[in-house]
């Protein structure tokens, strides 16, 4: 076995500082799933096409399949597991995904929610076209994106105190 194949990575995952010896060839997806059992991080293509593996790294959303585990050194990583409160409390966007029927098979859901978190945390009111563009890095075969769009838009407006769009309230 090659020397220097493993490297110690120290980072923060869902608020907890951790360290782990990782294979230098491993992706962040592999590390999160295999070493930390964070199985919300889904594998749909492993080449950055589908977005199912998205996680937040220092507040910015990345395809974790295209991000080497060793690059996580010193980073603050949030997966979907990190959004849920200690007693299972849901964040607003998770609740919106449930309420708006934005979930079907659930496989693209974790990645979609993480991108939504990044978008929503900016506190900006985006137009429909802007919002669609921001969400376009994710593929979903079940929902036609209709209710995902609704969930994200409603949450955006709710956070901004502007939830009065008649179409969205139907």
């Amino acid at each position: 076995m090659a020397k220097n194949q493993y490297k110690l990575v120290t980072c923060t995952i869902n608020g907890r500082e951790v360290e782990k010896m990782v294979d230098v060839r491993a992706s962040l997806t592999d590390m999160l799933r295999n070493d930390f059992s964070l199985t919300s991080v889904k594998k749909g293509c492993e080449v950055g096409e589908c977005g199912a593996c998205n996680v937040l790294i220092d507040g910015e959303c990345f395809n974790s399949c295209l991000y080497l585990a060793v690059w996580a050194e010193g980073k603050n990583i949030t997966t979907l597991e990190g959004l849920t409160g200690p007693n299972g409390e849901l964040s607003d966007i998770q609740q919106a995904f449930i309420d708006e029927t934005a979930i079907q098979c659930g496989f693209c859901t974790p990645g979609f929610i993480m991108t939504a978190v990044e978008i929503l945390n900016r506190g900006v009111e985006y137009s429909d076209d802007e919002l669609r563009k921001l969400l376009s890095g994710h593929l979903c075969r079940c929902t036609g994106y209709e209710n995902i769009f609704k969930a994200v838009k409603k949450t955006m407006l709710r956070r901004l105190g502007k939830l009065d769009d008649p179409y969205l309230n139907t």
Partner: protein, 764 residues
């Protein structure tokens, strides 16, 4: 009564929104070995040898198995119910690995290793020597004399040919004044693209083989694995956890048999097979590319005098679901637009392409594309409004199909068309858009479809169900009809709550995971059968459970059974509505009664001998940029009559997903193959062009809720129908906008450029 018909949130919503839901890979044992498959790099030929020495020398490689090692037991893969009639059984043309490779991507060998890297390195280190044969990718060419032959048992590459004759076509076309409208319509190979790729793992336990698989059809997979391994079916156990979508691809035995066999070749150790996205596109299943030739003889008023329909279905390399798909497609023509004199023929033809199997719509998106295109061509030839033509000739109320016994009880088609017409503002827009003359042309298109509910009478329809009264007064329910994302579990909970008399659908614990050792036998998720078929056994089993509960209650309350009911989770006395006891009290009393202890359960099987027509249509508004050869979808609406909605929110969501698939089918998706090598060219999500959120306008889903009298809940098919009529509606909208008929999908700029140039739209 209360839960059926309500917009309730999914029973699995919380777990899916928190990432807790476990899919097959999340359940992987730590000691699983990785099996990776060596796929054929030629489109057709024989494997002469496989040199495994270099692969076996790689550190971590445990075993290499090749096409020379597999048992000589041909097996079928289609996810159809078993038939006791040998003539009705699926074609058994598969081996676990193949010496005779029939497509670029066929399975030649497998490397089993301790880690993924070693397994992949092992696959790359295999040296395969082939004897190459000529190959054929096109259906018509495969039917020519002298074409390369794929299967000895099927000369001429014809898997099957069936026909349908009605009236006297030859005589009917001699009627005076008829107008002939003829067309060839071509549909492509597309793939399901569920976001979770297929995968499974297998291990032996106490001499039996267990496979945990991302499948829609656990009980059928048990049978197929048993067949492939030459073991009794009961020797196999299949576990189906949550799955990341299926859409028909997982209504087939994919690599479960190979994975199970690999485990038996390494002493029963756990072996995993995980398909990459690239493998999923090519080495799983695709939708049949079907080419149609339609000759319609119509009278000037639009009525049909006679019709000839020829369907050529590209099966690819192995039989899988085979002829069933094009047979269904062909069968639709005589029903949606009834005609007294018809000649229909359908051929399913082997070619050296990936195997075609089930995919959402099962032949109907193809048939709908061709038929609805031809109807618009007729309208154009006769100068009749295409919507008015449909309203005139589409299946009338009272129409009855003698074979399926399906009946059109209401005037569903016209009701759906009326609703869609109102939403899209048809009359005003058609008149306004007709004035467009510039580079941007707008148009409205409409298309319709009908769909069966389940597979009766072609195959068995059965549903089994088990209900247990829990000590807290809730009910646990199990059945073999699987949750694959569509929301079946939630619909079952709502139906069960109403039948038993529980307060909330949350009082029903639907066991989502199917385990063939435990779950009552069912057939799984396909043919849009789930809610309709499970409804029969839920009604029957729920009533049985209720009867048992009330009989026990009779002992405790001293009231006669007929005077009691279960309402909101309580046993009540019917005459005065008095609450006698809660279900929890009853369950505890029954369970811990020292004299007569009883765990109250009910189980039953219902053989369904019904089918039901499901109806619908799509209206779209497009904006065509003629010089750019681009189509912009401005608005789209699907209207469905799928009977009474069990859960309107989930029903709408089903329709959205189907509409999205139809938009992809119409505008972007197709698998491409290199004509020189047969190699797939775009088997990844970047090049395949799956629709993103930017490719859709708002998706409008509407319903006509005509109660379906054959269903205990008034419901019928909705799973597949939304995928059927979108693509032809887009095609017809482009025709309406530009006057140009596009007779193949997807209608991408490449095709539009060719057609617009041919029609002189790009002259200057």
């Amino acid at each position: 009564m209360g839960e059926v018909g309500k917009k309730q949130v999914r029973v699995d919503g919380y777990d899916k929104a928190t990432g807790r839901t476990k899919y097959y890979e999340d359940l992987m044992p730590r000691d699983a070995l990785y099996a990776r498959i060596k796929h054929s790099e030629i489109a057709h030929g024989y494997v002469k040898s496989v040199d495994t020495s270099a692969a076996e020398a790689i550190d971590g490689v445990v075993k290499v198995l090749t096409c020379f090692d597999v048992p000589d037991i041909p097996f079928p893969t289609a996810g159809h119910p078993w038939s006791m009639d040998p003539g009705h059984q699926d074609v058994a043309d598969r081996l676990l690995l193949n010496r005779h490779v029939r497509y670029y991507g066929d399975d030649v060998a497998v490397v089993i290793a301790e880690n993924e890297v070693a397994a992949m390195q092992g696959v790359r280190a295999l040296k395969v020597e082939y004897e190459e044969l000529p190959f054929v990718l096109d259906v018509q060419k495969a039917m020519e004399e002298g074409a390369p032959q794929l299967h000895e048992a099927y000369p001429g590459n014809i898997l099957k040919h069936t026909d349908m004759r009605k009236g006297d076509y030859a005589a009917a076309i001699t009627e005076e004044g008829l107008i002939k409208v003829e067309g060839w319509y071509d549909t492509p190979s597309v793939q399901h693209c569920h976001i979770e790729n297929f995968g499974c793992f297998a291990y032996e336990e106490n001499g039996r083989v267990t496979v945990v698989s991302s499948t829609q059809i656990p009980h059928i997979i048990r049978r197929v694995v048993g067949q492939a391994l030459g073991r009794p079916w009961a020797n196999i156990r299949i576990i189906k956890p949550y799955i990341g979508g299926g859409f028909g691809n997982k209504q087939d035995a994919l690599y479960e048999p190979l994975c199970a066999w690999c485990s038996t070749q390494v002493g029963g150790r756990c072996v995993r097979v995980d398909c990459s996205r690239e493998e999923t596109f090519v080495s799983n299943r695709v939708r049949h590319a079907i080419r149609f030739h339609i000759v319609s003889w119509v009278r000037p008023d639009g009525t049909m005098a006679a019709r000839k329909v020829e369907c050529f279905s590209n099966q690819g390399s192995y039989a899988s679901h085979g002829h069933s798909i094009v047979a269904k497609a062909m069968g639709s023509f005589a029903q949606i637009y009834p005609c007294d004199h018809m000649e229909c023929d359908a051929w399913t033809v082997f070619t050296n392409r990936p195997t075609a199997g089930a995919m959402r719509g099962y032949g109907m998106p193809q048939a709908s594309f061709a038929n609805e295109a031809n109807i618009d061509d007729i309208a154009k030839a006769l100068n009749i409004d295409p919507l008015a033509l449909r309203e005139k000739i589409i299946m009338p109320k009272g129409f009855r199909d003698a074979f399926s016994q399906n009946e059109n009880y209401e005037d569903s088609f016209r009701q759906c068309l009326e609703k869609g017409k109102a939403y899209i503002d048809y009359d005003r827009k058609v008149a306004e858009f007709a004035k467009d003359t510039g580079p941007i042309r707008r148009g409205i298109g409409v298309a319709a479809f009908w769909y069966n509910t389940g597979v009766y009478p072609i195959s068995l329809e059965t549903s089994s169900n088990r209900m247990l009264l829990n000590l807290d007064g809730t009910v646990t329910m199990q059945c073999g009809e699987t949750e694959i994302g569509q929301g079946a579990d939630t619909a079952y909970a709502q139906m069960t709550a109403d039948v038993v008399g529980l307060k909330s659908y949350r009082d029903v614990n639907v066991v989502s995971c199917q385990d063939t050792d435990i779950t009552p036998t069912g057939l799984g998720a396909y043919a849009s059968r789930q809610t309709y078929m499970a409804g029969f056994s839920i009604r029957q089993t729920g009533e049985l459970l209720k009867k048992k509960i009330l009989e026990y209650a009779c002992e405790v309350t001293r009231q006669t059974v007929g005077n009691m009911d279960i309402v909101d989770g309580n046993i009540v006395r019917k005459p005065d509505g008095r609450v006698l006891m809660s279900l929890s009290e009853l369950a505890m009393t029954a369970q811990y009664n020292p004299v007569h202890s009883e765990h109250i359960t009910a189980e039953s099987t219902y053989t369904i001998r019904n089918n039901a027509y499901s109806f619908g249509c799509t209206f779209v508004e497009v904006e065509v940029d003629v010089p750019m050869c681009k189509v912009m979808l401005k608005d789209i609406v699907n209207v469905h009559d799928c009977g009474q909605l069990i859960n309107p929110a989930l029903a709408e969501a089903q329709v959205h997903g189907g509409m999205s698939m139809a938009i992809g089918y119409g505008m972007g998706e197709q698998l491409l193959f290199d004509e020189k090598t047969g190699k797939p060219l775009n088997n990844n999500l970047l090049d395949y062009k799956l629709s993103t959120i930017m490719d859709h306008p708002h998706l409008e889903a509407q319903f006509v809720e005509n109660f379906e009298p054959t269903s205990p809940f008034g419901t019928k098919a909705l799973g597949e129908p939304p995928a059927c009529s979108g693509a032809p509606a887009i095609r017809n909208a482009i025709l309406n906008a530009t006057g140009v008929s596009i007779d193949q999908n997807p209608m991408n700029p490449h095709i539009l450029f060719k057609r617009f140039a041919e029609e002189g739209l790009l002259a200057d």
